[in-house]
């Protein structure tokens, strides 16, 4: 990647002893991805805190008499930030205001409930990433999957367990085929998947919106609202921890799928071909891998996984019937989840739980402190931006640069030394 500069050669020749192994290990850990990830989350939270403090009305009031009593300004700033983040924590992990453990832990189950579709959609995006494809079409794939699963869920009459399985499969097939369009177009015509997925998002949205207001497709019979009928009891995903918690069995499915994707990518022949194409499609072609087929398969898998998120939304989270907002932004959040998890299955799993916590806590924060939940979007996108640019974080925290890392490109023209005789 980068050629050795004359300086590097000089130091190499004059170096006496190689650095100790511990030194190298420490350097790699500090410069490596784990520390970068943690610092990225921290930096994003700090920016979020600044935004909260700057827009807080209490702080504005206190700044008015800053000269008279400066301490109360700092007190107000502290109150606003502490109030926000403590309600974020209590809304996502454990609520200390509840007397018993059973009710106090409810926020954590809410976090997992929000995380469930995020993880599986993130897995779909991550899988496409590993093949070198950028699937921004999560929204469309989820909507189509929701439409298919929902249609089976409230019109077909089937025995309990079979009905649920059939509905889930219908959704997965729908989402996979919708994403498969992208794969086929990419393989056959070279159409860029980013453009096609963005466009298919809107097409799916308008298609589902139309079906939702058309009798015979998705609209509840005899209704005028663009909303479906409730899912039949036989197709609803059962609650995992009893009726007082919202967590549904979709979570188990998601854990199973995480294991499956991890196996697929690292242990299976297909996964090997996927990764080969992702690393270098030309080399993969020379090695005899059918690159165009891999694109189609990858999009089918990716769409199928994202479809599960749509299915869980319809059959698990809101079984009372859905409208066109059923995707709830998960299709886009999945991209950030996949990036935060560095496109590794278990990384995505924990990134999904973190973002689930942000969502659950964000709603609690909005209710308790009146801070708009949109702040969560800001924090999430900042996390991804910071993680995507390790040099920025290293520069901010003065971390050592690991060897072999490309240096940031300078905008200035390199200064050419004048030749003197």
């Amino acid at each position: 990647m980068s050629k050795k500069t004359p300086d590097a050669l000089d130091t190499a020749t004059t170096e006496i002893a190689p650095p100790s192994r511990w030194n190298i290990a420490l350097k790699e850990m500090l410069g490596g991805s784990v520390v970068i990830s943690i610092l990225s989350v921290l930096s994003a939270l700090v920016v979020g805190a600044i935004l909260i403090a700057v827009t807080d009305p209490g702080v504005h009031k206190a700044v008015g008499y800053f000269a008279a009593r400066p301490t109360s300004t700092f007190q107000a700033i502290w109150d606003s930030i502490f109030g926000a983040y403590s309600s974020l924590f209590q809304g996502s992990v454990y609520n200390f205001r509840r007397p018993e453990f059973a009710t106090g832990i409810k926020p954590l189950t809410e976090t997992l409930t929000f995380a469930t579709p995020l993880i599986v959609a993130g897995l779909g995006v991550a899988l496409a990433f590993r093949v070198g494809l950028f699937n921004i079409g999560g929204r469309g794939q989820m909507l189509i999957a929701a439409a298919c699963a929902g249609y089976v869920g409230f019109t077909w009459q089937l025995p309990p367990v079979i009905h649920l399985i059939v509905a889930v499969l219908a959704g997965i097939i729908g989402g996979a085929l919708w994403a498969g369009i992208v794969g086929v177009l990419k393989a056959r015509t070279g159409a860029h998947e980013v453009i096609v997925t963005i466009m298919l998002n809107y097409i799916a949205f308008y298609l589902v919106s139309w079906m939702l207001r058309t009798q015979g497709f998705l609209q509840a019979p005899g209704s005028n609202n663009p909303k479906t009928a409730p899912i039949l009891e036989t197709a609803v995903m059962p609650k995992l921890l009893g009726p007082s918690y919202n967590l549904n069995t979709g979570f188990l499915l998601v854990i199973a799928l995480t294991i499956f994707v991890a196996w697929l990518l690292s242990r299976s022949s297909l996964g090997f071909q996927f990764r080969a194409v992702g690393e270098n499609p030309n080399a993969a072609r020379f090695a005899g891998i059918r690159v165009d087929r891999m694109y189609i398969y990858a999009m089918l898998f990716s769409g199928g996984l994202i479809a599960v998120a749509g299915v869980i939304q319809v059959l698990g989270v809101v079984p009372a019937g859905f409208s066109s907002g059923i995707d709830a932004g998960i299709g886009f959040d999945a991209i950030t989840v996949a990036l935060l998890g560095r496109a590794k299955p278990w990384g995505v799993f924990f990134a999904g739980i973190l973002f689930g916590a942000f969502k659950a806590g964000g709603f609690a924060m909005q209710a308790a402190e009146g801070i708009p939940i949109d702040i969560v979007l800001v924090v999430q996108s900042l996390i991804v931006l910071f993680i995507a640019a390790p040099p920025l974080i290293r520069a901010l925290f003065r971390l050592p640069v690991p060897a072999g890392e490309p240096k940031p490109v300078s905008l200035r023209r390199p200064r050419v030394k004048a030749v003197t005789r």
């Binding site: 950028f134 393989a187 308008y206 949109d374 900042l382 940031p408 490109v409 300078s410 905008l411 023209r413």
Partner: protein, 421 residues
Amino acid sequence: MSQTTTPVTSTVVLKSWKAPIAFGIFTVVSFVIFILLNTGASTNFRLSTESDFIQLPAIDLPALGTGIFVTALLFAMTVLSFFFSNKGKSSPIWMISAFGFFFMVGFLTWAGADGSILIPGLLLGTVGLSIPLIFGALGGIISERVGVINIAIEGQLLAGAFVSAMVATLTGSPYLGLVSAMVAGMLVSFVLATFSVKYLVDQVIVGVVLNVLVLGLTSFLYSQVLSKNTAVLNSPPRFDRIDIPVLSQIPIIGPVLFRQTLIVYLMYIIVAVVAYALFKTKWGLRLRSVGEHPMAADTVGINVAATRFWNVALAGAIAGIGGAYFTLGSVGAFQKEMTAGAGFIALAAVIFGRWDPIRATLAALLFGFASNLQNVLSIIGSPVPSEFMLMLPYVVTIFAVAGFVGRVRGPAAAGKPYTKS
């Protein structure tokens, strides 16, 4: 990020049957819909409003007669197109335009049967909806021509809309609002350029995340600050309409094109300047060379990183003007998510317009026409579900990138970071 698998088509392609086949399909469609499915008696077209200088009489077109006439005309053009293709020539542009025009006449007559359609209103709405798309598309073209994929158009529009509303309200001057919108779009571009040019982060990832970031920031600040002080912060003055003396009295198109706000006139100038400068000036040549072959550009002494950085910034400023149109030109106050995907339609216009300013402007006008037609038809009660009209730009774009509408090829180095090795 991924290699496309398009085989490079050679230049010796002699006969292209795409145009005549497409013509044939549309002719069949018009035969089925305009003649066989015709129900109404006649359609009333009003050509001028009461404030126009020259009054034109309203025209009544008989539905069936027009259908037959249009279909016959389209059929004749299809035959002519087959004739052209057989001789190895492509169908001339005037014929494609005429084909589109007559198909539209047939469509409007059929869809508006037994109703009345105000033509100047239809066109005025088209221009109104197209303005942000055109600015966004110009921003996209400049950015992609210099080699940075600009998915963040949506974010640039939204930032421009937000900041212009706030600044124009605070200062009471729409001109300052316009300038601040350019600055806001530029700031979004700075982030895009810093991350993609300096830190070599994947451009699509940065673009997607930036959209979320700007959406989160503006929504947060809107709910937390603007909506609480609407009178002080979010009631911007709007630009006045300016009549261009003689030109605004031309029937039909005069009021549409020359009785507009400053932003629209600015659009004419910027489109002309960009179209000229991109292909005829040193700046344009350097910009395109950096986007097509950065290494060659570097070899002849062009600073690739700086060229990319500053032109992406320029692109953001232009897109920012489009954002200002939302608040200072049409709606009048900022609302959450008010751009509603216009940035993505602008992206579609960039591709459909094959990275050419004039063609992209025409594409944006076409998309604006499609969405405005949907508005008009939903008022007079048309037989086409509005969702399908809204889907049109996206479907057309997929066809464009899949290569059905001529060969679409973007700048060769777009999306690829450049490092000196």
